[in-house]
Amino acid sequence: MELRIRDVTKTYANGVQALRGVSLTVPTGMYGLLGPNGAGKSTLMRILATLQEPDAGNIHLGEVDVLHQKDEVRRTLGYLPQEFGVHANVTAETLLEHFAILKGITQRAARRESVEALLRRVNLWDVRRRKLGGYSGGMRQRFGVAVALLGNPRLMIVDEPTAGLDPAERVRFLNLLSELGESSVVILSTHIVEDVAELCTRMAIIDRGTILLETEPLRAIDEMKGYIWRRVISKDELPAIAQEHRVISTKLLSGRTVVHVHADTSPGAGFDLVEPDLEDVYFSIVGSDPDARRAERTGK
């Protein structure tokens, strides 16, 4: 099964152009959608999750027209929104049962089984009788995962899922996703490069509503080999370097600044060639991180 997104455009009433002709093809497996905040990721995710209407374009999941056969899509959909709440005065078990019915698991025994498996899976079984209002952020996030996983979705959309999770939880959650990715289309939208690097077989980079790159992470990294140079500098050297070279990222390391520069040949003394990682790919596409950008500006 394959998700095909063609020329999807969305402009909000206040004039913000969230998506400008986005086209993507997403095969089965984990797919990373990487982009800075405000790039249009959530809009695209919501459109895929049938929660929002694009102005133009079409989307197909296999044979199903996502924009016009919403109910069909929803039957195979799992969606974990970037931010969500739950009814505070209901227990996790009750609410999950409720969602199970809504997702078509109407047989009592099957529902019980499903709910129990999910609650165990997300490690909420012991607190299933507790009101959701008493859940911590991480617990609530896991509850959302359980809801999304109900009914073994063929299309899983996860919007910035790891933002509120602690490192251990994050690892567990990503494992869960990759397991699901064996048989389903899983789209993971994030601004955290590692999430994609660790999990996704394919990815796209989006910024300001436009897809800038659609690739496989490994290949992209491969293509960067021999172009990324690193140097440790003091902060006041940055403007000069930014003026001369294409700085793609700066990072602080024990009080010193580490710059990565994209260049065909050695940019000069003090620069070492480094193994590129996905972050280098990302920043070279999105146009460097804010610090570097500022440095670029002041340099000009």
């Binding site: 909000y12 009433a13 919501r46 999750a49 049938t50 929660l51 929002q52 209407e53 016009h68 109910d71 929803r74 039957r75 959909l77 969606y79 929104p81 931010e83 969500f84 709440g85 739950v86 009814h87 505070a88 005065n89 209901v90 409720h98 969602f99 019915i101 809504l102 997702k103 078509g104 698991i105 109407t106 047989q107 099957a110 529902r111 089984e113 499903s114 498996a117 999910l118 165990r120 899976r121 490690n123 909420l124 012991d126 607190v127 507790r130 009101k131 209002g133 008493g134 911590s136 991480g138 617990m139 959302g144 809801v147 999304a148 996983l149 009914g151 073994n152 251990a168 567990r172 869960l176």
Partner: protein, 1188 residues
């Protein structure tokens, strides 16, 4: 400027700017303007009606007070938003993390909201200021010399404090419960508190002082001023000087500040529910993963999207809704119900007499709360529609593969379930009320028919409406406002706009009534049709709501329209078309009934018709006409078919000295009049069937002293049903036909003229007094409707019913499975008589030669014995006091009607069914009101023929009560009489202006039914009952014939003067000719004994007398009156006062004086005018305990 002041100011400024920038605020304001303009418009209409100016200070203040209550709804939206915005937008942590003090945070938010509302509601006084300029034909004389002080006081004493109090309370509650719903509950509390104090505490319980103090909106204080001020004061006096109002304002400002202080004390930053719960339960308590163990695989479970699954899902949504409804705010209903159970007994009565709490009575009391349930339905519908979005859960929920219809219907089911439960609770409340009164005949069928039938049906349809409105509007507060407008303002607003037809006003119907006698007849059918009609409209709206249902994040209108268009499937289109067809079909059927089968007229058209009648035919008013001397009727009633026909023959005679060549006949528009013929040639010179006016030219003319016969037929056969005021003359059981509403009348009917002064002005008619002046000699001789006739009636009715008409039953027979009754009067009767038919139970009695009968609904037998006793005693006593009772029968007849009034004429007294429910035994004051009322009605049979001029109330109602007092005294004793008089005097406790007309011009209820009888009783105690009776007897004898001149109060006054000894003539004038108030006070009583069982009692008393004119000018007059002085012995157990040791008239002058009396027993109390014979400003300081 300190940092904290700066942050205060910034917060206030931000709040102010934020609220003023919000579109919603202005939308609210725009909606608020509708009732405001309506109110102002009404103010102008009222001003057209008479003496009160459009911009009288008290009028401005009263309108403003009520408008601020409506404004509380907007305050709820604004203050609720200010209090809970951060919670709602999950900005709490952010706000609370900034270095703002609690005081600045709360204070800034509150002040901002308050200032916004203070600004917006300045529109209230401004509307009255601007309105006249918008109205081109606003007559200048309707407005007074408007002073800016009146507007300022309205704003600063009424609007601003009310806004402050409402904003503070609503803000406080919403902050503390952390939910905007708290603000709405607060608004309900403020409005409910105002209604409770102003209506129940003040009007029902008579606790005016307390109510004035406690009323949150100041409405009671203003009402008190409006009622007690003289007409002069009302137009000019400012409200600001009234201490009661100022105290009330002070109390509520203090309470508002206290609420704010409490909120400040209880409010904690970051005290969100989440963190609180976390603190209680400990943070993430889940165990660490067992990393080694493989997580359990997810089972592959079957999924189902069949129709059966849809049903299960609907049930799931329904159950989820119940979690919101049942655990939520619905419980607020319970304290309301408890309050209801406690207050219901007070409302279940009349004149302080409790009613037997039959189920339909109790349901009558519950009708208010049934309506209030709708407020809750609106609020709950809002919570349901916003349930997932308020929890920020819509992204999770809306991606579930559930059709929108499942959600809508599931929520609707939840709302319906709660609605049904609320009706169940009301039924429980009703049963509890009945049990608390020892009544166990619960009549479940009546509960079922009314509460779970008509009213539940309406509520369910309304639930669908409220839900649909919330879905379509998609803004919670605006949804609330619009839905509540439908509940409360729809009728009024539509009427203001001139839209009256019930097909055009949502939820309107022609009205219904339940009677144990006639059931729902004839209202049920029409009401059900309307119910169906509105249900169809609501369904249509629900379909629209389904199309516009917001799923996900498509909230922009453009997107919603696009989605809605896409949602229109063939099936939806089909259902919509079917619904629309149903609306057209049902609406068409109703329209056919109301406008084709019946003539529909708007109220303006009705008034215009009456104006037109007057314009066209008024000039015939003085034309000499023959008088009716005898009438015989053959009435055929068909109760089951709701049909009737009457064939009548009337004898007309010319009592003038000129021949009468032209006869004017007014026909009724409630029946079809036909076959109107005379027994001589009569040419129709004019026939106006629309207005019901015909003119016949007789040939030959009717010579003086000669008479002729007019025969006619009227047919009553209602076709379908009318748009409003469905008449119930003939029903399955309990037909009641006041014949004068059907019969043709001779001459122009001045009773058809418009009487309301404002309406007359609007229709361009000349001014006309409500009642003719006492000095209007022509009116005093007006014989219209005063003909005394001999009456013969034959009534045929259903075989199982008894028909009743005036006079004795001469014979009865059966024919064609129908029963016939022939009645004939043995003495002439007036024209105001009625025909009845029902399955009556008949109780008989006798008083001398007079047969006594009570015809009543078989189950309504509680008071029958009492009624017969009263009729017997009254007849016997009145014959001694006032002359012979002319008829050979005295009869009381019950008929179905929601009221409890009685009417007495032509030997018959007919009473509305509520009178049967007067539970005299349950009256804790030990007053037998039903007995007294029957005595009153019997007395009406003895009253003289009265001219239709001012003071007629004195000759009818005052006479009837005066006469009845004698029967009460004779049959039930002096103590009972005193208790009864005490009840009558309660009317003096009601707020009332002292400005007034003398009793000789008595016309209103208070003068005729209370002040008059009390004056007559005082007179009886001063000059003796035989003398007062003599005066009445002479008056009655002189005015019995039905020939002019008719009796006026001046005739009575002459007779009373004749029987009053010279020294008491001035008192007589004080009682009847002048509007006099005494101020009698006992300052001190001392008693000492000289040892020989003689006691000397010294009373220090003060006295003054004031005469107040119609305009309220008070004039103290020198006093030298005979006043009763009483000395009383020690009171026995259960007595208020002991036996009188001394009770005599003493001469009392103006000012302080000492009176010494010797008694032979130990005195306990003494005082001046102890029996309150005279109208005292302050009656409770007349009697004091003796000091020794």
């Amino acid at each position: 400027m300190t940092a904290s002041t700066a942050s205060w100011i910034e917060l206030v400024r931000f709040e102010l700017a934020y609220q003023l920038r919000r579109k919603v605020t202005w939308f609210f304001f725009a909606i608020f303007l509708i009732p405001l303009l309506g109110q102002t418009n009404g103010q102008m209409f009222a001003a057209q009606g008479g003496q009160i100016l459009f911009d009288a200070p008290i009028v401005l203040a009263q309108s403003a007070a009520w408008m601020t209550l409506i404004g509380a709804l907007i305050i709820a939206a604004v203050a609720g938003d200010a209090a809970t915005r951060d919670v709602r937008l999950r900005m709490e942590a952010l706000m609370h993390a900034s270095p703002i003090s609690r005081a600045a945070y709360l204070g800034g938010r509150f002040l901002g909201a308050f200032l916004v509302m203070a600004l917006l509601l300045a529109a209230v006084p401004l509307a009255s200021l601007v309105f006249p300029h918008l109205y081109p034909d606003f007559a200048a004389e309707l407005a007074g010399p408007a002073t800016s002080a009146a507007y300022f006081q309205t704003y600063f004493l009424i609007v601003l404090p009310n806004v402050f109090v409402s904003t503070a309370l609503l803000f406080a509650i919403a902050t503390l419960v952390r939910h905007t719903m708290g603000a709405y509950i607060g608004a309900l509390l403020v409005a409910g508190g105002t209604l409770f104090t102003s209506q129940f505490l003040a009007k029902t319980l008579g606790q005016w002082k307390l109510a004035t103090f406690l009323d949150p909106a100041g409405v009671t204080a203003l009402h008190l001023m409006a009622e007690t001020w003289s007409p002069l004061d009302v137009n000019t006096r400012l409200i600001g000087a009234e201490p009661s109002l100022l105290w009330n304002r002070a109390l509520w400002l203090a309470l508002a500040l206290a609420a704010l202080a409490f909120t400040y004390a209880r409010f904690r930053f970051g005290a969100s529910e989440e963190t609180r719960r976390l603190r209680q339960s400990g943070a993430d308590a889940t165990k660490e993963y067992d990393e080694v163990r493989k997580p359990p695989a997810l089972p592959d479970v079957p999924r189902d999207f069949s129709p059966t699954a849809r049903v299960r899902q609907t049930i799931a949504v329904f159950r989820d809704s119940l979690r919101e409804l049942v655990t939520g705010w619905t419980w607020l209903l319970v304290p309301g119900l408890i309050l209801l159970i406690f207050t219901a007994p007070e409302m279940l009565g009349h004149l302080g007499v409790p009613f037997v709490p039959t189920t339909d009575r109790v349901l009558g009391v519950l009708r208010g709360p049934v309506n209030d349930i709708r407020i809750l339905i609106v609020l709950l519908a809002g919570e349901l529609v916003w349930r997932n979005r308020d929890a920020n859960m819509q992204a999770l929920a809306d991606t579930a593969p559930v059709p929108d219809g499942v959600r809508f219907f599931g929520k609707l089911l939840g709302l319906w379930f709660v609605t049904i439960a609320m009706h169940g609770l009301l039924m429980v409340a009703g049963v509890l009320i009945q049990i608390s009164r020892g009544f166990y005949d619960f009549e479940p069928v009546v509960y079922l028919q009314i509460l779970f039938g008509l009213e539940l049906m309406e509520a369910l349809v309304f639930g669908m409406l409220a839900l649909s409105i919330h879905v379509i509007v998609n803004q919670k507060h605006v949804g609330h406002l619009i839905a509540l407008l439908v509940v409360f303002a729809m009728n009024g607003l539509a009427a203001q706009l001139g839209v009256e037809h019930p097909l055009l006003v949502y939820g309107a119907d022609p009205g219904w009534r339940y009677s144990p006698i006639s059931g729902f007849d004839p209202f049920l059918g029409p009401v059900l049709w309307f119910e169906l009609y509105w249900a169809a409209w609501t369904l249509l709206l629900a379909i629209v709501a389904g199309l516009f249902w917001v799923r996900g994040f498509n909230t922009a209108f453009r997107e919603r329209v696009r989605i809605a268009r896409r949602r229109i499937t063939g099936r939806i289109a089909g259902i919509t078309a079917a619904t629309f067809a149903a609306i057209l079909l049902i609406g068409g059927f109703i329209f056919y009934n109301t406008n084709v089968l019946n003539t529909y007229r708007s109220s303006i058209a009705v008034a215009e018709r009456r104006a037109e009648y007057e314009r066209r035919y008024k000039h015939y008013e003085g034309v000499s006409q023959p008088h009716v001397t005898a009438t015989s009727l053959e009435v055929e009633l068909y109760p089951r078919q709701r049909q009737a026909s009457v064939r009548g023959v009337s004898a007309l005679s010319n009592r003038t000295t000129q021949p009468i060549g032209v006869i004017h006949v007014a026909t009724s528009d409630r029946v079809d009049t036909s076959e109107l013929v005379f027994d001589r040639t009569a040419r129709v010179a004019h026939q106006d069937d629309d207005l019901g006016y015909r003119i016949y030219e007789l040939d030959p003319a009717l010579a003086p002293g000669d008479s002729l016969r007019m025969s006619w037929t009227v047919r009553y056969a209602p076709r379908g049903f009318a748009a409003r005021g469905i008449d119930s003359y003939v029903v399955g059981n309990g037909s009641f036909i006041p014949m004068h509403e059907w019969m043709p009348h001779i001459g122009y009917l001045s009773s058809a003229e418009l009487t309301d002064a404002g309406e007359r002005t609007r229709h361009g008619l000349p001014e006309r007094p409500f009642i003719a002046s006492l000095s209007d000699l022509q009116a005093r001789r007006d014989t219209t409707g005063k003909d005394r006739i001999d009456l013969k009636v034959i009534v045929g009715t259903a075989a199982d019913q008894i028909a009743v008409a005036p006079g004795a039953l001469r014979s009865t027979w059966s024919r064609d499975n129908r029963r016939y009754f022939e009645y004939a009067t043995n003495a002439s009767v007036g024209p105001g008589y009625a025909i009845f038919s029902a399955d009556y139970a008949l109780r008989k009695g006798r008083a001398g030669n007079v047969a006594i009968e009570v015809l009543h609904h078989p189950e309504h037998d509680l008071n029958v014995e009492r009624m017969i006793l009263s009729m017997q005693a009254s007849l016997e006593q009145y014959e001694r006091r006032f002359g012979v009772y002319p008829y050979d029968v005295l009869r009381m007849i019950e008929y179905p009607s929601s009221g409890g009034t009685l009417h007495s004429a032509a030997g018959n007294i007919w009473y509305q069914e509520l009178f049967s429910l007067f539970d005299a035994a349950g009256d804790e004051r030990r007053i037998d009101v039903p007995f007294a009322v029957v005595a009153h009605e019997v007395a009406h049979q003895f009253q003289p023929q009265i001219a239709r001029v001012e003071g007629s109330g004195l000759l009818s109602e005052t006479f009837a009560w005066y006469a009845a007092l004698g029967v009460i005294e004779q049959e039930q004793g002096v103590d009972h009489l005193q208790r009864f008089l005490g009840m009558m005097r309660l009317a003096y406790d009601e707020p009332r202006s002292r400005a007034g007309i003398p009793l000789l011009r008595a016309s209103d209820w208070f003068e005729s039914y209370r002040k008059g009888p009390l004056a007559m009783y005082a007179l009886q105690e001063y000059v003796g009952r035989e003398n007062v009776d003599l005066a009445w007897r002479r008056l009655i004898e002189q005015h019995r014939s039905g020939e002019p001149p008719f009796a006026t109060s001046l005739d009575l006054y002459r007779e009373l003067q004749f029987v009053t000894p010279e020294p008491l003539r001035d008192l007589l004038a004080d009682l009847l000719e002048r509007n006099t108030f005494w101020d009698l006070q006992t300052r001190e009583i001392s008693a000492r004994t000289s040892g020989d069982r003689r006691w000397h009692v010294t009373l220090d008393v003060s006295a003054r007398k004031t005469v107040v004119d119609e305009q309220g000018n008070e004039n103290e007059v020198p006093m030298d009156d005979l006043i009763e002085i009483g000395v009383y012995a020690e009171a026995q157990q259960g007595e208020e006062r002991g036996a009188p040791l001394h009770l005599q008239m003493h001469r009392v002058r103006s000012g302080e004086q000492r009176i010494t009396i010797e008694v032979s027993e130990k005195p306990a109390m003494a005082g001046i005018d102890p029996r309150h014979l005279l109208i005292d400003v302050k009656p409770d300081d007349n009697v004091r305990a003796a000091k020794r």
